[in-house]
């Protein structure tokens, strides 16, 4: 059953559904040993076990946070210092450019831009790819673990048999 969202690309393959996490992870590791790197694994919640089996290392999202933070901090100091000099008004006997009070503004902008860019990075990295669904079952957001392997027609039977032996409760061509 598909989601009511546009599908950009359909890739033929085999979709297996697991109830047991250890069986799913064993199957993933065996497939990766075969040299398959383009698996998609669906879970209802993040799992370190699945992450290790799939072999993920790091996420580039940190770069968005870092660049956002540095931009915000620079923008905060640049804006306050430039605006103070643009119309130099002495208020309360303080010198025109005083860095200490501007730390508050720079800090808030660091967090603001870093937070917004993290959110934007997340959207950029995951959501467009999600529309590009290849095989999905609504039970994957409930309690099942889904493993999708892109496969040509000739390979499908062998992969189906592999998944059944590995303990999948349901296998179908997607």
């Amino acid at each position: 059953m598909g989601l009511p969202l546009p599908r950009r690309r359909e890739v033929p393959g085999v979709l297996a559904s697991f109830e047991h996490i250890d069986a799913a992870c064993d199957a993933i590791r065996a497939l990766r040993k075969e040299g398959r790197r383009n698996l998609t694994v669906y879970t209802s919640h993040p799992s370190h076990e699945v992450e290790a089996a799939v072999g993920h290392t790091w996420s580039p999202i940190r770069l968005f946070t870092l660049i956002g933070g540095l931009t915000g901090c620079t923008a905060g100091f640049a804006m306050t210092l430039w605006m103070s000099r643009d119309w130099p008004l002495v208020v309360g006997g303080k010198s025109v450019n005083t860095v200490v009070p501007y730390v508050a503004i720079a800090f808030e902008l660091t967090v603001l831009i870093a937070g917004l860019l993290t959110f934007f990075g997340m959207a950029l990295l995951t959501f467009p790819r999600a529309v590009n669904k290849v095989g999905f079952d609504p039970r994957f957001t409930d309690d099942r673990i889904g493993v999708f392997v892109p496969a040509q027609a000739g390979e499908a039977d062998r992969l189906s048999a592999f998944f059944r032996d590995a303990g999948a409760v349901e296998v179908r061509n997607a």
Partner: protein, 450 residues
Amino acid sequence: MATVAYGPNLTRTHAEITSDVVATLSAPSRGYLAALFGAVGLFLIGLITFIILLKDGLGHAGYNPPIMWSVYITNFVFWVGIGHAGTLISAILYLFRSPWRTAVYRATEAMTVFAVMTAGLFPIIHIGRQWVFYWLLPYPNARYIWPNFKSPLMWDVFAVGTYLTVSTCFLVFGLIPDVAAVRDRATGWRRALYAQVAMGWTGSDNQWRHFSRAYLYLAALLTPLVLSVHSVVSWDFAMSLVPAWHGTIFAPYFVGGAIYSGLGMVMTLLIPLRKVLKVEHLINDYHFDNLAKLTLLTGCIMFYSYSMEYFIAWYSGNTFEQTTFFRRAFGPYWWAGWTMIICNALMSQLLWFKKIRTNLTSLFVISIFINIGMWFERYVIIVSSLSNEFIPWAWDGLNPTWADWGILLGSFGWFFMYFLLFARTFPIVAIQEIKEMIPMPRLRSGGGHH
């Protein structure tokens, strides 16, 4: 064992967790509808009052020199403070990997966003000419005069604006996987709606990889942010030279008080809500016991801060400080001063007893006292200091009017209305985080390396 970590009473499977939370979005009960109508009623009172103020001006409110910050600024500080407990539970306790936060954090994060939204109204109401509120923003105006960034009021604009934006991102972000779970169980127009909100979430390994990291970074950004926001609010006071405001204790004192007041509001909201939405088994004594312990900790911080304020006023030898604090306890506002001390510093001490911490009726009563006490704390700080500043012939009192109370009631209506609508539209208990606490079934015995 995850069931032990989560609480002694939870023996649910993943599928049951999904169906329990999805059930909260079914037809509303009478209790819910009554609460919603009450909230909308209060909001309308506030709206009518605001329209009259807009038409006639701030003359209706109890502004009276020298007290030019009065009930509206009290409300502002009160509502900003409420939000802080939400971020403590959702972001700070996430970094500490505290297991009990999972069931309650969604409700508290929503509370944060709606409380800060409420707070944001008050500076705009307070300025009187609401249509020029954008003067607070740094934009090139006709005379090229920029905002004064040395003023704590400007820091406040940036702090509260950032807090609202990043908290909203955090709330929406955490909601996406849960909305996807609801989408896959919904039918008809609801399914189409949730599909749009879930933005195509499928729970693939790649999505979780980025989600987990991004969530961690947002939590790490929110942690110092929440401490900064109420520190900046406290500097609105502490940067002045007004007696009893000009103190270095103000930032930690305000942050502690903000979390304390927010925890009070969390309990006020959750104790009835868990019954109305029938999630008593998900939000149980275990969670309230932990919430109460945090309340006790922050209550002790309040006790210490109040004691220190009086001690330093005496120890400093500063006559103005001493007079202000003497008048707080025995002057014309003695009733407000003692309400604050009794509700905040003393009532919280009851939470040393486990029997009280696990009795929801007594917790609810204490939470109401906390709400009242923390509102009065801000009232006392503002009114008692401003009513007798340095020039004795300018001393005067404050008499709040119907316009002050109307806006206060309206703010409660505005807050509860959004919260109740949220609780019926989106999963108020975090589905995916609770599932993370419960081990997945295995073919072989023995744990994974989670």
